[in-house]
């Protein structure tokens, strides 16, 4: 054996050991991060899953014209302001005639959500012939009942430590015995806007708000960022001091804390340009500022990665620089540009801090219909709910996080699909 072979052989074991160690560390870090992800997901899913069910209560309401204060000839306006809450109240009093104490009576009224009266109103207006009849309807139960039904209130605790007192438990037990309490899929969560009452609070307002905000962000940041990246990469003079300065600043902008963009939006867009606060428009403007550097940097990298031979071929055929850009460079760079865009958008979708500065943290009980309506967004909704004292909001917070994560996963999926669709071999 030659000397050199011996030396190499002696070192081989060391090399393999190093390789094994490196593989082991890599595997460890993957397992560790995966474990944390699992813990995070299981906690959120475990907490949030019950929120997708909601307790409903069956009441046999007698739509007595006298109690409602209307007649069958009343106009829809009169029907609208009739005393439906009184009907609900009377129904409950009739079911539990023994309740006489004022405090207990109030507790009895609060066993069903105050949305019951509105539900009843909508039903009567839709079908006035219901007047004078007795109907069985399922109404939303109050959040405390819902929390109890989901097993989150321990009846063995001393009465003073429970939200539900002994006399209320008697009612609930009787309602359960009569099959008047039932857990159903929580459509409210997806159909309603925010509410102070947990059982009536939904995410639709936040989802719409996020959607509109993202739309504004995308429409503003994508064209601007791609144009900026294409200009800097293909047209800007090389080794120019100003161009270098702009490049450095774009890279720095990507690292600026997002709340600073919120302050900027407040000072410039709201105070100077008078853009209405709390709207998807201002949210989109501020988030565009935040997303721009991300998309510009990704787009520049993607444009730079387009083989120069393709550009040369186009120019050699007599294509102008702009034709080369639009016919060859951008289509080939599109997968990278789209990936960067979706990453930027996903970042913007999860952003809270800058929106606090521009009034999107407001309580908005209406689903926004356009970019000029007051709105909130999903992460802010999560923040608002997590801050609410009611027990029932805890599970809704987790449910909202699940919905937000679902949106992020869908966005990433879209990124992958778009990437595959636009990817071409060269």
């Amino acid at each position: 054996m030659k000397d050199s072979t011996k030396i190499i052989k002696a070192g081989l074991n060391k090399r393999y050991a190093r390789e094994k160690r490196f593989k082991f560390f890599g595997l460890c870090s993957i397992i560790l991060s995966f474990a944390f992800l699992l813990i995070l997901l299981s906690t959120i899913v475990g907490r949030g899953l019950p929120a997708f069910q909601q307790t409903y209560m069956k009441l046999d309401v007698t739509l007595d014209e006298e109690t409602l204060g209307v007649t069958s000839n009343s106009s829809s306006k009169e029907l609208f302001s009739a005393k439906y809450d009184k009907v609900i109240r009377n129904t409950l009093y009739d079911m539990f005639p023994n309740v006489s104490d004022r405090k207990e009576k109030r507790a009895l009224r609060n066993i069903v959500s105050n949305s019951a009266a509105y539900d009843l109103r909508d039903k009567v207006i839709a079908n006035p012939e219901l007047l004078g009849t007795t109907q069985s309807y399922w109404f939303l139960a109050k959040d405390d009942v819902d929390v109890y039904m989901k097993g989150n209130i321990d009846r063995n605790l001393p009465e003073s430590d429970r939200r539900i007192k002994d006399f209320q438990l008697v009612w609930i037990d009787r309602l359960i015995a009569e099959d008047r309490l039932e857990k159903r899929f929580n459509t409210v969560l997806f159909n309603a806007a925010d509410s102070r009452e947990p059982e009536q609070a939904g995410m639709r307002g936040a989802i719409m708000g996020s959607f509109l905000t993202m739309l504004v962000t995308l429409l503003l940041s994508f064209p601007v960022a791609v144009a900026a990246a294409a200009y800097l990469e293909e047209f800007a003079p090389q080794n120019n001091r100003w161009v270098d300065l702009i490049e450095v600043n774009i890279n720095n902008l990507a690292a600026v804390p997002s709340i600073v963009f919120g302050l900027l939006g407040l000072a410039v867009f709201i105070n100077f340009f008078g853009v209405p606060r709390s709207t998807p428009l201002i949210g989109g403007l501020v988030l565009s500022l935040m997303t721009l550097p991300t998309i510009i940097i990704a787009s520049r990298a993607a444009i730079k990665a387009v083989p120069p031979s393709i550009k040369e071929a186009a120019i050699g055929m007599g294509a102008s620089p702009v034709q080369t850009l639009f016919q060859h460079t951008l289509p080939l760079a599109m997968p990278g540009i789209l990936t960067g865009t979706i990453i930027g958008m996903a970042q913007a979708l999860g952003e809270t801090a800058p929106l606090l500065m521009i009034g999107m943290v407001a309580f908005v009980a209406e689903v926004p219909g356009g970019i000029f309506d007051p709105a909130t967004v999903m992460p802010v909704q999560i923040y608002l709910w997590s801050d609410s004292p009611e027990r029932a909001f805890t599970e809704r917070t987790s449910a909202a996080i699940m919905v937000l994560l679902a949106f992020l996963i869908v966005m990433n999926l879209i990124a992958i699909i778009l990437r595959k669709k636009f990817e071409r071999r060269w």
Binding site: S4, P237, I310, I315, M317, A319, P321
Partner: protein, 296 residues
């Protein structure tokens, strides 16, 4: 440390020595031959293209020094020389490809059919349609074969309807000797072809706009000998309708395909002569050194 180094393969002086005797070491003298203008016959009557006093600079660095040469009609002129001698740079002067490099500056007078191609009113887009180019690495667009060939005609609006375009694509592919092989796969991606086919596709793409001159920058250096032979044959056919300037590293190729050969050395045009003369009886010492393999 030295001990170890000596035991490692490749570091000993012994292993470097091959069995065959090495050609005698190059001396400085052989490179230091004076280049004083171009010898031979750089000029022809009624040239297709011509350059006078051509200097090219990359920023401060001068890449080409005072090149004067004519390219005759329907001839193939080969440009040879060691790496970095400026032959590719000169080729790119002829269709203003160097314009795309911001730091590149070209001086001198360059004409196509007596027309100044660097004149202020000369449009590089039009020029590149008249002076096509085929690159070293086959670079078809990531589109279908059809779209690759149709790119130029579409870009310049050469055809008015689909059937005309179809005919033009077929004619161009036929001229490039590729039509038979791909006629059933016109909608397949051009990048899926073999290297030699890709290069012929690039030639078809270049001739689809019916240029007057075709510049080829080492068109076969990335291809195997069979593909090379096909393309060399093709060049011979193309000569009938086009003027071709080819940069090549292979002296055999230059000898096979060209009528005239230009030898570049360190940015200067040393000798231009009929190909036969260059390879059998070169006038300049440097040319002789190069073609006999003394350096390069």
């Amino acid at each position: 440390m030295n001990e170890i180094l000596e035991t490692l393969p490749g570091t000993t002086t012994q292993s470097l020595q091959s069995d065959e005797p090495k050609p005698e070491a190059k001396t400085r003298d052989e490179f230091d031959v004076e280049i004083d203008g171009t010898v031979g016959q750089p000029f022809v009557d009624n040239p297709k293209m011509s350059s006078r006093n051509c200097d090219v600079f990359y920023a401060e660095k001068q890449a080409i020094f005072d090149v004067n040469v004519d390219i005759g009609r329907n001839e193939i002129i080969a440009m040879i020389g060691p790496s970095g001698c400026g032959k590719s740079t000169y080729l790119r002067v002829l269709n203003r490809m160097n314009d795309t490099i911001p730091i590149c500056r070209t001086t001198g007078t360059h004409t196509l059919d007596g027309e100044d191609i660097y004149a202020k009113d000369q449009d590089p887009v039009l020029l590149r349609a008249r002076v096509g180019m085929v690159f070293q690495k086959p670079n078809p667009f990531p589109k279908s074969i059809y779209d690759n060939v149709a790119y130029g005609p579409r870009l310049h609006g050469l055809t008015s309807n689909r059937s005309e375009l179809d005919d033009l694509v077929e004619a161009s592919l036929t001229k490039a000797g590729l039509f038979k092989e791909v006629k059933d796969d016109l909608q397949k991606p051009g990048t899926g072809l073999s290297g030699g086919q890709q290069q012929r596709l690039c030639i078809a793409r270049a001739i689809a706009v019916d240029p007057e001159v075709i510049l080829m920058d080492e068109p076969t250096s990335a291809l195997d000998p069979i593909a090379t032979a096909i393309i060399e044959e093709l060049m011979d056919d193309l000569k009938e309708s086009y003027t071709i300037a080819i940069v090549t590293h292979s002296m055999q190729q230059a000898a096979r395909v060209s009528q005239r050969t230009a030898y570049f050395h360190l940015g200067r045009l040393v000798e231009v002569n009929d190909t036969d003369k260059v390879f059998t009886n070169p006038e300049h010492q440097l040319t002789e050194n190069y073609i006999t393999g003394r350096f390069g």
